[in-house]
């Protein structure tokens, strides 16, 4: 019965969550905390915080961990499959159908019209990431990092994975010291010690 509930909970998350994993987090919370009470709010917040600090897609990390915690390895597999399988199947069917008709002019028109729309979605995502980066790093560092990344990736042809790995290693290796953005976290720490 638990397995069936796990399946239902994550199936609903997978089929109702638009906009990728991060936008389905509230749905996961609704199922896992409010409906089935597998985790309380604090546990859920902790899981999410750690999930966010690790690489990779967030939806499957949440599903896998919560499934594992509730019902072991089978629960884990169950939760992941319920999250991802329905939409992968729909995707494969639709795209295979579309590409089998790709020489028809109206299908070509469709694919042409959709490209700038996806471009807009990516541009919006770009802006979101810049805004979030600014919140933590400040404009100066954000712009410097953005420009350096652009140069390395576009003109020197460095693999983005390497660039990201270097940044991550730098963040781990560097001794934690205060950055220049006074607006958020620093006042607390320094003010308290007096």
């Amino acid at each position: 019965m638990t397995q069936w509930h796990i399946f239902l909970a994550f199936f609903r998350v997978g089929i109702l969550g638009y906009g990728g994993g991060p936008s389905s987090i509230p749905l996961v919370q609704k199922e896992v905390v409010e409906k089935y009470k597998w985790l309380n709010d604090e546990d859920f917040a902790n899981t999410l915080a750690l999930g966010n600090s690790l690489p990779g897609p967030i939806a499957t990390k949440m599903a896998g961990y919560i499934g594992y915690r509730v019902a072991g390895v089978v629960g884990m597999l169950n939760a992941i499959l319920a999250t991802i399988l329905p939409t992968i199947v729909i995707m494969i069917i639709l795209l295979t159908f579309l590409s089998s008709m790709s020489d028809k002019p109206w299908v070509q028109g469709m694919t042409q019209a959709v490209i700038p729309v996806v471009g807009v979605m990516l541009a919006v995502l770009t802006y979101d990431f810049l805004k979030k980066a600014k919140g933590g790093l400040g404009w100066t560092l954000t712009i410097v990092l953005a420009v350096v990344s652009l140069g390395l990736i576009e003109w020197l042809g460095i693999h983005p994975g390497i660039l990201i790995a270097v940044l991550l290693i730098y963040a781990i290796a560097k001794p934690t010291k205060k950055t220049k953005d006074q607006d958020t976290e620093i006042p607390q720490e320094e003010g308290q010690s007096i």
Binding site: G14, L16, Y18, G19, G21, P22, A49, L50, G51, N52, L54, P55, G56, P57, I58, A59, T60, G64, Y65, Y68, M76, I84, T87, I88, M91, I92, L95, W106, G109, T111, Q112, A113, V114, I115, P116, V117, V118, G119, V120, M121, L122, A123, L125, T126, F129, L130, A133, L137, I143, L145, A146, S149, L150, G161, L163, I164, L168, A171, I172, T176
Partner: protein, 176 residues
């Protein structure tokens, strides 16, 4: 060999893509378009449009479809596995041990530091999509689609699925 390539192509975005599936889109593009040449920019954007119009996590939809397209059902399973398994394994192991580090400034800093890079990667992709559209469809049609879809998505908050369906219908009628 192809299975190994499929594994690698999705393992790398899965392991360096911080910030959930959407952050790994440009990393996937880098592997499947630039490195392995499995898809053209046009194929990729078509796939991304479809993936955005469908519900569910984006990273696994891409891995599942591209894996299937390159190497059948097994390829699909491998692509999804490579995307999901490494980070999930980390998560389960770490959560049992390292729960206390979640507030660590270093971990926060890690996520923070790579955001501008991810933004640039997304920006580059957006630009190449606009360029492709300009070359294939023409300037005015491209501008029209950009402006209208931006207004619908961001100002009127229309659901992306409907915007995609709208664009598909527009293309089927006016660009054929």
């Amino acid at each position: 060999m192809i299975y190994w390539q499929v594994f690698l192509a999705f393992f790398i975005p899965g392991i360096v893509g911080y910030g959930g599936g959407p952050a790994s889109i440009p990393l996937v593009e880098n592997e499947v378009v630039d490195r392995y040449g499995w898809l053209t920019v046009q194929d990729f954007s078509e796939m991304l449009a479809m993936a955005n119009a469908l519900p569910g996590p984006i990273a696994t939809k891409m891995a599942g479809y591209i894996g299937f397209q390159q190497a059948g059902i097994l390829g699909s399973v491998i692509g999804v596995f490579a995307t999901v398994a490494p980070s999930l394994l980390f998560m389960i192991v770490l959560l049992s041990v390292l729960n206390k580090f979640k507030d660590s400034p270093k971990v926060k800093k890690m996520t923070m530091l790579i955001r501008p890079t991810i933004a640039i990667l997304l920006g580059i992709m957006a630009f190449s999509f606009f360029q492709t559209s300009y070359e294939n469809t023409g300037l005015w049609e491209t501008i029209f689609l950009i402006v209208v879809s931006f207004l619908l998505l961001e100002k009127l908050k229309v659901h992306p699925a409907f915007v995609i369906i709208g664009a598909l219908s527009f293309g089927a009628i006016f660009l054929s």
